[in-house]
């Protein structure tokens, strides 16, 4: 399919411009390096390892796709490195995650990369579900009104990480959630919740389905809300994976003192988009010609249209949209921009609530 499309395109280009056709992009015998700025053990590694063999099959010439890891400084080391790479022959691909987006949005001093320089070819996202212990969960009636006098404890990886989204959401609902910082992953947070040390928790969709849903089934946890999903017009709608659980937006609307407009809401939404629906993005370096970018976009398009894709991706990606080509560009723009007011709001809140200042 893709080759026919490219063939037609290149013939058309050749005919129109009457110049020698740019050689069709072909990666035969080449090795594509997909660099991930995290260690081998994280979620981004899982993501890239899932796509790598599929991408290899879909790219013209079936190049070998290898995933390389360049961890350090919360992924800013790898991203700074990628910023310095120039387009060579299209065999370098880079993958970022929410942990790369957040420092960029918050003006972390270590950030020396600029998202708008890069060429996005694919973006994918996930969702998240917050849940409560059974005792407090019984008081949850679709609004957080009855939860505002309770002290909650939450195992957190850090206020400037993806945990920013749940912490800000709970704060907006007027809930008093005390984070215990320094855990290594959301799995540790769930374990803390299971041990009764933490009384509130959230998991990304796949981990929720893998483990927390079991707790809910046994009556050991009560789902509270999802972060929701984004529709084509940028509105927050129910998460397709959890159509029965209300979104934070719905809970906020039902709760006294929580508003779905204004600086706080805009800030939450901007970081939510960057951390969940557009969490992971694959980039080509600055200066990549359009035909190469298009080849990659087509390849990812072919991957997501595979007959078996829904089955094989269920565990690795979940039921979320995969954006390619122009949609990836749009998604990336949404996931990597935040208004100055929203940025200031978050920075002030981080400083006041947790003493975090990024200088």
């Amino acid at each position: 399919m893709t080759t026919i499309k490219q063939f037609v395109t290149s013939v058309a280009v050749a005919a129109l411009l009457a110049t020698p056709a740019a050689a069709e992009v072909d990666f035969s015998g080449k090795t594509i390096e997909w660099v991930i700025p995290f260690s081998e053990t994280g979620g981004s590694a899982k993501w890239a390892n899932f796509f790598a063999p599929l991408l290899s099959e879909a790219l013209p010439g079936n190049p070998t796709v290898v995933v390389k890891f360049m961890p350090g400084a919360g992924s800013t080391k790898g991203a700074n490195w990628f910023q310095e790479q120039k387009y060579d022959d299209g065999t370098l691909l880079f993958g970022t995650s929410g942990s790369t987006q957040f420092p960029y949005l918050l003006d972390d001093p270590r950030v020396r990369y600029e998202y708008s320089d890069w060429v996005p070819v694919m973006a994918s996202g996930t969702g998240g579900v917050a849940y409560l212990n059974p005792e407090d969960g019984a008081k949850f009636d679709g609004s957080a009104n009855a939860l505002q006098d309770i002290n909650f404890i939450y195992g957190s990886q850090g206020a400037t990480r993806l945990d920013l989204v749940p912490l800000l959401a709970w704060k907006m609902l007027g809930m008093n959630v005390e984070p215990v910082f320094g855990i290594k992953g959301r799995g540790d947070g769930r374990l803390m919740f299971e041990r009764g040390e933490a009384t509130i928790d959230y998991q990304t969709s796949s981990s929720y389905l893998g483990a927390s849903a079991d707790l809910v089934a046994q009556g050991k946890a009560v789902p509270m809300m999802t972060w929701g999903a984004i529709d084509d017009n940028g509105n927050i709608v129910r998460d397709p994976t959890f159509p029965d659980i209300p979104t934070f937006k719905e809970v906020c609307e039902a709760t006294d003192g929580c508003e779905t407009s204004g600086d706080a809401w805009d800030a939450w939404k901007a970081f939510f988009v960057s951390g969940f629906p557009v969490q992971k993005i694959a980039f080509l370096p600055a200066g990549t010609p359009d035909d190469v970018a298009q080849t990659y976009a087509d390849a990812f398009d072919a991957v997501r249209k595979r007959d078996d894709f829904p089955t094989i991706s269920a565990k690795a990606i979940g039921k979320y949209d995969i954006f390619v080509g122009p949609n990836a560009k749009k998604a990336t723009a949404a996931g990597t921009t935040v208004s100055p007011q929203a940025k200031d709001y978050v920075k002030n809140w981080l400083q006041e609530a947790y003493g975090v200042s990024l200088k």
Binding site: G72, G182, G185, R190, R195, I312, A316
Partner: protein, 676 residues
């Protein structure tokens, strides 16, 4: 109860699944690959599994599992080669093995030490599997009983092993452990992100130092340099005394120690969040405390090999519990393992709570594949140990350049920064001086390894406890002092008291002669200066980030206290006192034909040249120069050995898809791999 009823059929299903020729074939393939990777220090299971990942996609689940488990299971077995033969701790699983394994190799008993270690590994692996088969059915509530206070206490129990390993002057051991902990706090704090002894201008320090580098720097570099100065073979008189059969007999004589340490290994491995870092030391401490004549520990006591080696393979089995039951990886390789399982077949095996319910047969297959892999791996290792042990009879000057090559490559793999090499050299210097002045290196390493868990667990337990105390005093007390915590406190106290009594007879560095006052005093002052700098630095962290501040402050205060008392003792005591121990005064180092600095300069040359022309070119020049000038080899030999070394590096890095440290040349000119 219904679970038990389903357990037996699942177990027999599992055996039917495992005992297919294809499955066994994949298992053996995985084992062989695991042995090949594990033999190189610093690579370990993570590198090996990453290598397998591309093949996992859509693979028949059982074959994929056999391949991966074969690989993971034998890494803690084969890394014993490096730790016993060369004194290089290949991974955190073999640090305690170095303490007695390497001295045995130096006595010419490498084959004995290796076969005792492998037999213990095998046995530990089997005990682990047997224990898990039953335990996995009711493990969940037990694992959940280990909250933060319990984990903190286990970490402190591990830390209390410093008492056993402190050496002749207990205060020096304590200060060494404190220094190790302080080095462990360098970088961005986990809790509040404050920087400790680091700055954003040196991004390398922000991430802290990796265990691989500190392990290599503290144990491997000082030993390599010392042996190289003496210009002899590792085994005295270049002869191999005892053979592998004796090692097996040693194990038989100590089988109960092996049983106990295996159980310690499984139990600690089961608890998520602790991983392998404490197991070895607890097992080593246990071996010391249950041995009547302790005078041989640190000098080549076979029980010091059997204990930790029994526990570390058993730990891999225990580590499956959090991985499979909770979906929480107990180690880096387990994290990849979980990720890879999702790629297998149609992706319907889901690691997590549903594993026992829906896939009990698969769970049992994993447990017993692990045990089988241990058997196959151990037999191969024992078969190879006699031959490989001959390495210790080679004149060390021919081995050393290749060891420098291997540890540099291993260090670089940990973070892929050029600074990794500098850090290795820096920590290596600390190791050299700790060794010279008889400050306990094991104590330093225990401090480093446990620094992060101690800080993390104490902060988090404190925060949750204060939350509970706000509800009621009683609730807080029940949280902090659960029965498990109380038992652990008693065990720790007993172990500290016994340890202090025994420490004097355990001389990890041998009976080091004391000499003049000046050099040991200068070293003490340098350490004290660093501690003061850390103290000032920690004091500068603002109070609202108390979580990042309190632990470094406490450690600094204690360590500084030790330093001050030591200083007073040094002023009062005569120069013959053990406090002034100095290896350069008498013994092997003092009599060595080569000096410390010229020898270390060779390693410095490799690193400096890498900075200019990149690793592979630097390595070529280094090998040629070293073999020609230092070893005095003829040109054909020089060229042949150099070619072998470079080829080995390139093959290994090529197979694992790794890069080499680039230099200035590489940033100016685009060169093809492996020169890039």
């Amino acid at each position: 109860m219904e679970m038990f009823a389903s357990a037996l059929p699942a177990l027999s299903d599992a055996w039917h699944m495992i005992l297919q020729p294809e499955v066994l074939g994949y298992l053996v393939l995985g084992v062989v690959m695991g042995l090949a990777v594990g033999i190189f220090p610093g690579l370990g299971g993570i590198a090996g599994l990453s290598l397998l990942l591309p093949f996992m996609f859509g693979m028949e689940p059982l074959y994929g599992l056999a391949l991966m488990i074969g690989m993971v299971a034998v890494v803690p077995t084969s890394d014993t080669f490096a730790s016993v033969l060369m004194g290089i701790p290949g991974s955190s699983a073999s640090q305690a093995t170095v303490l007695d394994g390497f001295p045995l190799a130096r006595k010419g008993q490498a084959a004995r030490a290796l076969s005792a270690a492998f037999t213990s590994s095998l046995f530990g692996g089997l005990v682990g599997a047997l224990f898990l088969t039953i335990f996995i059915l009711f493990a969940r509530p037990i694992v959940l009983a280990f909250g933060l206070p319990e984990m903190l206490m286990i970490t402190i129990l591990g830390l209390s092993m410093v008492a056993v390993l402190a050496g002749r002057v207990a205060l020096k051991g304590l200060a060494a452990a404190g220094l190790g902990m302080l080095i462990g706090t360098i970088g961005e704090a986990d809790a509040g992100g404050s920087l400790r002894m680091a700055t954003y201008d040196i991004p390398y320090l922000v991430d802290g130092l990796s265990l691989v580098i500190v392990g290599l720097g503290i144990f491997a570099v000082p030993e390599i340099v010392s042996l190289l100065r003496q210009d002899r073979s590792i085994a005295k008189d270049a002869s191999l005394g005892a053979g592998w059969a004796e090692g097996v007999r040693d194990w038989v004589a100590n089988k109960w120690l092996s049983v106990r340490c295996s159980i310690i290994g499984v139990m600690v491995g089961v608890i998520p969040g602790l991983g392998g870092s404490v197991v070895d030391w607890i097992a080593y401490g246990h071996a010391v405390q249950t041995t009547k004549d302790k005078s041989n520990f640190g000098k080549g006591e076979i029980r010091g090999v059997i204990g930790p080696e029994s526990s570390n393979n058993a730990k891999e089995g225990g580590g499956l519990v959090p991985t499979l039951l909770f979906g929480i990886p107990g180690s880096g390789s387990m994290a990849i393992f979980i990720g890879a399982i999702a790629l297998l077949g149609s992706g319907d095996i889901e690691v997590g709570p549903s594993m026992l319910r829906d896939n009990l047969d698969i769970t049992y297959s994993i447990v017993w594949l692990l045990a089988l892999a241990n058997v196959v791996g151990t037999l191969l290792c024992i078969a190879a140990s006699g031959g490989i042990a001959k390495l210790t009879t080679i004149r060390f000057t021919y081995l050393a350049p290749f060891l420098f090559m291997l540890i540099s490559f291993a260090a670089f793999q940990s973070g892929q920064n050029f600074e990794d090499l500098l850090a290795l050299l820096g920590i290596g210097l600390i190791g050299i001086f700790l060794r010279r002045f008889d400050w306990s290196r094991p104590a330093f390493l225990i401090g480093f390894v446990l620094s992060n868990p101690v800080e993390k667990f104490s902060n988090q337990a404190f925060q949750i406890a204060s939350f509970r105390f706000r509800n009621s005093f009683e609730e807080g007390m029940t949280y902090l002092f659960s029965p498990i915590v109380i038992v652990l406190i008693i065990v720790t106290l007993v172990s500290v008291v016994l340890g202090i009594r025994q420490a004097k007879s355990i001389m990890a560095e041998g009976n080091v002669q004391a000499g003049s006052k000046r050099a040991p005093l200068v070293f003490l002052l340098v350490i004290a200066a660093y501690v003061v700098a850390s103290l000032v630095n920690a004091q500068m962290i603002p109070d609202y980030n108390m979580t990042d501040k309190i632990v470094p402050l406490v450690i600094c205060t204690i360590t500084l206290g030790c330093c001050i008392i030591l200083l007073a003792q040094m002023m009062l005591r005569p120069e013959t006192d053990p406090i002034f121990a100095d290896k350069e005064r008498a013994g092997e180092d003092a009599d060595a034909p080569y000096g410390l600095w010229p020898t270390l300069a060779w390693f410095g040359f490799l690193i400096a040249a890498s900075w200019v022309v990149g690793f592979i070119l630097a390595l070529t020049a280094f090998l040629i120069a070293f073999l020609r000038v230092r070893a005095g080899a003829g040109w054909p030999k020089v060229l042949l050995l150099t070619a072998c070394g470079v080829a080995l590096m390139c093959t290994m890095a090529g197979a694992l898809n790794r890069d080499f440290p680039p230099g200035l040349l590489q940033s100016a000119v685009d060169l093809p791999w492996p020169l890039k």
